[in-house]
């Protein structure tokens, strides 16, 4: 049983999180590096170029990499201090096995034998699909590809999914429906060249800080800025128009803006006729969505909604950008489609300075969602339920089509299946669901019910504490590979140092396991470049076509935008030029969206909306960033942000400890009272575990298509702690 092997306190004492403040030996001892390595930040989807300094085979510091075109040396605090995850006292350097009192080291061969034996034993008794694999979007393209192949061929389970399920899947599903391609439609350079930037549900300044400069460079040219967000974020503060939408009402707002655009005569009828299908259904669906009719629902005066429509219609070129704020909903796909409807109805896509993008969140949020570690997908962005796609991949893998399992469950569904004991064994890598999934107590119950759990990790995450075996894998700077950035630009990750102690590179661990599971000949890789070569050949002809991309080209050109089918193809920075979309008929699809309320609306008992998100100094579940001293110092703990009017009504003073209660649980945090959030909403950042976990409050409710959880709306009450 996967309950904790000993108290959480003693695990924390042994494995952290502890704080690393300084390079090895301290700042004073840091001298000229032996070498520098140009690579990328290990955190968000911006994938800023960064130079790591290496001394005595240890990463000792960072330098801006000014030649890399995307960020030109710019970095946020996470990128500057990321090097402190290396040489960290918490770093796992030997395989660990659970004992009666905690964890003890175990030789690699013994650990790997146990994993293979336990997987096969569980499958013998409960079927092949009783073992699941959870993976992550911080992995390189090579590793993401490998995990999909490993789960399907070596483990032989249909159940593999990844933590991008908590991130990009709503946007991805909507983009596929509307455009037939799931990728940012424009390179970021197009933001600078636009006349109007509209940002929805994206705290750009904290979650993708480098994008701030792109927006400001557009504003320096005279572009206007509209920001839609329930919180007055740093990018919203200076916006020309700020729409403080009530959480969960984004589709209603976008329908109203499109209604006003139609009323203003701003629709591009020629574009609609030549390049799209389905607009008439949208026109009907928005007929009763006048700004005046929905202003109370969306929480914004009608005049401001009309103003947004006017700015949109007046601007020759527009860039619409959105992120998790509109995507983390039970109607996340619909929210995104309602944005795309506005873009398509006005023909504002596929041109220089004019287009659309979701701001992908995770380090390899783009690439890791393309090459087959999703439950419904095969490499190259192929569909696991499409017989032709299955046949193509089966031929490349040297198996028969029936050897490839069918569509599996999504990550949150896998956790529910574990809870129901339908899934008995779990292998996880790059995923900390105990912190990142909604309703954390449920996730903990599920982990405690596993028969066998093996985690590949570099630090003992809150989730890995529940494992029977922990295999020490590799940090970002300890391996080569590629990732695909927010722009759809494939770039090179370069190894700076070797994994410490007995730790191994992730792909070596996975290939070793595959050999022990009897599939060694299909995992005979000797370097990440071997895996990439197989991936790119297999992706050829798929939607996400990497066929012409080689490590040599990436090194020479500082990245290549996919699709890039052949080695003499220049790559494709901008999609949909000339109004040609990814569907077989070349047309984009409109989708009529009817507003639906969130799964859990406020009521007398739980009268306040809770919304969750990030802070600039932390990343996702904090496995890395909660171990970096200078980042923790920026914001040591989560606080509950509330408007002074709400605080006054509840009798709460700034800094006072308050209890936030939902139907799932309660946590106590300090109040942060500030006039920078809607008075009907409170905000808690989600990077922390246990008693500080925002996800003890959030709801297990999912988008019906994408299965993304509704992190952005839960009903809570807030009480003074007596």
């Amino acid at each position: 049983m996967a309950t904790l092997p000993c108290s959480a306190e003693s695990l924390i004492e042994a494995y952290g999180p502890h704080l690393n403040h300084e390079p090895p030996g301290g700042f004073a001892a840091r001298t000229a590096p032996d070498r520098t390595v140009n690579t990328h930040c290990c955190f968000c989807g911006q994938q800023c170029g960064v130079t790591l300094a290496v001394k005595d085979e240890r990463v000792v510091g960072v330098e801006p990499w000014e030649e890399f075109p995307f960020n030109q040396g710019k970095l946020c605090p996470k990128g500057i201090k990321r090097y402190l995850q290396n040489n960290h006292p918490d770093r796992l350097t030997r395989p660990l096995v659970r004992t009666g009192r905690g964890f003890a080291p175990i030789p690699w061969d013994e650990a790997l034998d146990i994993v293979a034996e336990r997987i096969r034993r569980i499958q013998l008794h409960h079927g092949r699909d009783s073992v699941a694999v959870l993976s992550g979007a911080s992995l390189t393209n090579e590793k993401a590809y490998l995990m999909g192949k490993f789960a399907r061929l070596a483990v032989g389970t249909r159940h593999i999914d990844y933590n991008g399920r908590l991130c990009m899947v709503a946007a991805g599903a909507a983009n596929l429906k509307a455009f037939g391609i799931d990728r940012a439609a424009n390179p970021w350079a197009d933001i600078v060249a636009t006349d109007l930037v509209m940002v929805l549900g994206s705290n750009v300044s904290e979650c993708s800080p480098i994008t701030t400069d792109y927006i400001w460079r557009a504003r320096d040219r005279g572009a206007r800025l509209i920001v839609v967000d329930p919180r007055l974020t740093p990018i919203a503060r200076t916006a020309d128009l700020y729409l403080p939408v009530r959480p969960g009402r984004d589709a209603a707002l976008m329908n109203a803006i499109l209604h006003a655009v139609v009323r203003l005569g701003g629709v591009d009828e020629d574009f609609i006729a030549q390049h799209t299908t389905g607009f008439e259904a949208v026109r009907e669906a928005i007929a009763d969505c006048a700004p005046e009719a929905v202003e109370r629902l969306v929480g914004i005066p009608a005049a401001r909604i009309v103003e947004a429509a006017e700015l949109w219609v007046q601007a020759p070129r527009t860039m619409l950008l959105h992120a998790r704020g509109i995507e983390h909903h039970t109607h996340g796909v619909e929210n995104v489609l309602s944005c795309i409807n506005l873009v398509l109805a006005t023909g504002k896509i596929g041109k220089p300075g004019c287009g659309y993008a979701t701001i992908t969140g995770q380090g390899n949020g783009q690439g890791a969602r393309e090459h087959g570690q999703r439950c419904n997908q095969l490499p190259g962005g192929r569909d696991i339920e499409n017989p032709a796609h299955r046949a193509h991949v089966a031929a490349a893998w040297g198996v028969t089509e029936s050897d490839i399992p069918g569509k599996g469950a999504t990550a949150p569904e896998i956790v529910e299946m574990i809870h129901r004991r339908e899934v008995r064994g779990l292998l996880s890598i790059c995923f900390n669901p105990l912190v990142s999934l909604p309703d954390a107590r449920f996730t903990q119950e599920a982990l405690e019910r596993l028969d066998f759990f093996v985690a590949i990790d570099f630090f003992l995450s809150e989730t890995a504490r529940h494992a029977d075996l922990v295999l020490p894998g590799s940090l970002h700077e300890e391996d080569d590979g590629t990732v695909t950035s927010v722009e759809g630009r494939v770039i090179r990750i370069r190894k700076a140092v070797e994994p410490p102690g007995e730790a191994r590179r992730d792909w070596e661990i996975v290939c070793e396991l595959a050999r022990r599971l009897g599939q060694g000949e299909r995992f005979d890789f000797h370097a990440p470049a071997d895996i990439f070569d197989e991936l790119r050949r297999l992706s050829r002809g798929g939607v996400a076509d990497y066929g012409g991309i080689t490590y040599e080209r990436l090194d020479r050109d500082m990245g290549v935008f996919w699709p890039c089918p052949t080695e003499d193809h220049p790559g494709t920075p901008r999609l949909f030029e000339g109004g040609r979309f990814g569907h077989p008929d070349g047309r984009a699809r409109f989708h009529a969206i009817e507003y639906r309320p969130p799964a859990e609306d406020v009521d007398d008992e739980y009268p306040i909306i809770l919304t969750t998100g990030r802070v600039v100094s932390q990343f996702l579940s904090g496995t890395q960033t909660r171990r970096i001293g200078p980042l923790v110092a920026q914001q040591p703990e989560p606080k509950v942000e509330m408007h002074p009017r709400l605080a006054a009504r509840l009798g709460i003073a700034d800094g006072e400890r308050v209890r936030v209660v939902s139907r799932r649980g309660a946590i106590e945090l300090a109040a942060h009272v500030a006039a920078t959030i809607r008075p009907d909403t409170v905000f808690i950042p989600y990077h922390w575990p246990g008693a500080q976990s925002a996800n003890r409050l959030t709801i297990r409710a999912y988008d019906p298509i994408a299965k993304i959880p509704e992190f952005k709306v839960a009903a809570v009450r807030v009480e003074r702690v007596a």
Binding site: F27, A28, R30, G61, V62, P64, E66, N71, G73, K74, L75, C76, P77, G79, I80, K81, S205, E206, P209, I210, T212, D213, W216, R217, R219, D220, G222, V227, L232, T233, P234, I235, A236, R237, T238, A239, D240, L241, Y242, L243, P244, R246, E295, R296, G299, I300, P301, R304, V616, S617, P630, Q634, P644, V673, A674, A675, T676, R678, P679, D680
Partner: protein
């Protein structure tokens, strides 16, 4: 053309990349020489970086009894010379911008020297290199005038005293002289007003 810092608080997003990067510079020992402040967090997310403005006639140097603060040929006001500084704190009290900080462990005044070792080899100061919003820009006046709408300002009045600085503050409209008073408050932005209009 002389290269200077141009600081635009309007663009600042409060991320502290400047502080974190400054703390990485050799010789700082992990301590930043630039500081980030929330102006009034209860009311606004407005933040501003504060870094040495490198005054033409620096008050810190004038009041230093040990003559430890020197100005170089390009007008860069250097950090106190370690062998001279007596840690009296006069400079910290005299600076109208509140820049110098005393390191109590070393009895030494420390402040920004415009990344002397970086600029000497053609690199930009750390803070200006990393700033993700462009709130801290390093370049010539011509460059900043070409690419920015905001206007550079380099004269500040503190009561009867007027200070001209090497570095510039970027302000929304052309301003020859900014009178700094204790009652100076940032006007509410339009977005801040629009939040108050929201329907609950």
């Amino acid at each position: 053309m002389i290269q200077e810092l141009y600081i635009d608080p309007n663009r600042c997003i409060g991320c502290r990349a400047c502080e974190q990067a400054c703390s990485e510079c050799p010789g700082h020992g992990g301590i930043p020489m630039i500081h980030l402040d929330f102006l009034d967090r209860a009311e606004s997310v407005q933040t501003a970086p504060t870094v040495c403005m490198h005054c033409e006639d620096p008050a810190c140097a004038s009041v230093c009894p040990a003559d430890a603060i020197k100005v170089d040929a390009e007008g860069v006001v250097l950090s106190a010379m370690a062998e001279r500084c007596i840690g009296c704190g006069n400079c910290a009290l005299a600076c109208p911008f509140g820049v110098p900080k005393l390191d109590p462990h070393r009895d030494l005044m420390m402040k920004c020297d415009l990344c002397y070792d970086r600029t000497a080899v053609g690199l930009r100061p750390m803070c200006a290199t990393v700033c993700p919003s462009g709130a801290i820009f390093y370049g010539t006046r011509g460059e900043v005038e070409d690419i920015r709408r905001a206007q550079p300002l380099d004269r500040f009045a503190f009561g009867a005293q007027t200070v001209r600085t090497r570095n510039h503050l970027m302000v929304p409209s052309p301003t020859d002289l900014l009178e700094v008073t204790t009652t100076l408050v940032a006007p509410r932005s339009r977005a801040e007003q629009l939040l108050e209009e929201c329907l609950c």
